[in-house]
Subunit: 248 residues, 2 copies
Amino acid sequence: MAVNEDPRTLAELLWGLRKPRIRGPRPAYDLARLADTAVKVADTEGLEAVSMHRIAAELGLTKMALYRYVNGKTELMAIMIEAAVGTPPDLSGAAGWRAKLEEYARGLSTAWRRHPWLPSVTVGDRVMGPRETAWAETALSALTDTPLTEHERLDAVMMVSHHIRATHPAATQGTQTWTDGSAAPIMRELLLLNASRFPLLATTVAIPSTTTTREFGLLALLDGLDRTITQRTHNNGDEQTASRPDPP
Amino acid sequence: MAVNEDPRTLAELLWGLRKPRIRGPRPAYDLARLADTAVKVADTEGLEAVSMHRIAAELGLTKMALYRYVNGKTELMAIMIEAAVGTPPDLSGAAGWRAKLEEYARGLSTAWRRHPWLPSVTVGDRVMGPRETAWAETALSALTDTPLTEHERLDAVMMVSHHIRATHPAATQGTQTWTDGSAAPIMRELLLLNASRFPLLATTVAIPSTTTTREFGLLALLDGLDRTITQRTHNNGDEQTASRPDPP
DNA sequence: AGAACACTGTGTACGGTAGAGACAGTTCTG
DNA sequence: CAGAACTGTCTCTACCGTACACAGTGTTCT
């Protein structure tokens, strides 16, 4: 990566603020085409297969020609994300914040199942495009009728997203190292070998799991939000009277 | 990366099962020394500064000499992790599963603050070393007295870890893109510019935050776990009588 | 003691990555 | 029609991880 990492120019690219160029020969392709082929490569061969050379070759271009469209690989990744996220789910069918959040989690999950590289990339400090932003906006809409503050709603939404990300099966993320994945059998073996040092883990991996991490976690998460929400709605009117000082 | 990624040999390295070599000249260094210098470089200059060449040069070695100690960069990373994680916190001082989990979260947080690259690396499908495993064992011990099943306890522990990871300030992980980080001001600007499309987000970023995401999230998480735990302890004896069929 | 052997560290080379900069060709604008 | 602006290509650099042959060094066996 290089000195090109100017977030402002990236933002202009993502939000359609690049001034259209008139003079000179027409570009053979456009950003959408670039993004689509890159997404296709990532979907079928994994994210590590996406290199400047590879994508350029896929389009019948030289590697350096790509730099006429994007300022670097960071920008290519950004437009890939925008192309892949799609549109957020419709939450209007679900009644109540809890059902809406569950629906949102489902939507996130299916989108990520379609593009398994997506969760590992839509992370960290970065400029987001309008389509990805729309997801966050949709998620926030699930909590508008709750007594949570604006930032608490955002926190709650992020919690749900992170949980789905962490339990994403094909992710390079927080897969359950102990029970799933290619390293799991080795870990199991090592734990049973050292059962005296790690008795709790050893017994755990010896037992087959009946529940899924994702469901259990989401349940706990929503239960926890429910607690503060119901608590605040009940104390809503009382709080003022209770905190009102007695007249002298 | 190469064909070297054999998880078995990695496991042997991490768990001290490498047969000690006697013949030939003594190696100038050992794995601990390698790991320590690599950790130091990662701590001071970031994880991307850790390359085979860099670490070798730091030790006064040729790049290729490192391959006499580790089979590749994957193994180097693995021993770096083992060297950096340290020992898990002592939870015996905390009373009850909730306080214990909070203490565990605190310990995780301080360990990751010391080595900001650690959370982004201790993730995904991989073989873990004994010291990292000890952390998981410790975390599990917090929940031994709860009516949760073994796998549910593991799930709960993973949830807490993921949450701390996701809210880790210096992480390449799920920092709050909207409110923190270098891209945040740009996102704020874009949202206020497009406030009609993203009203909820726009109002949110316009308001200063009073609470921290980490605390709010951990609260919700533990509240959620509390619900199932207390629910099950109360229904413990009743459940059998309630589910017992009436005599005909 | 001497030979055989095993191991360490070095030098060179390879294929991969992202990217800079000069250049030729094309197309629009004045 | 001429000049300006733009596209795509070519060559080059600087990294990265890693394979492999080789020289030197120390241990072990005879």
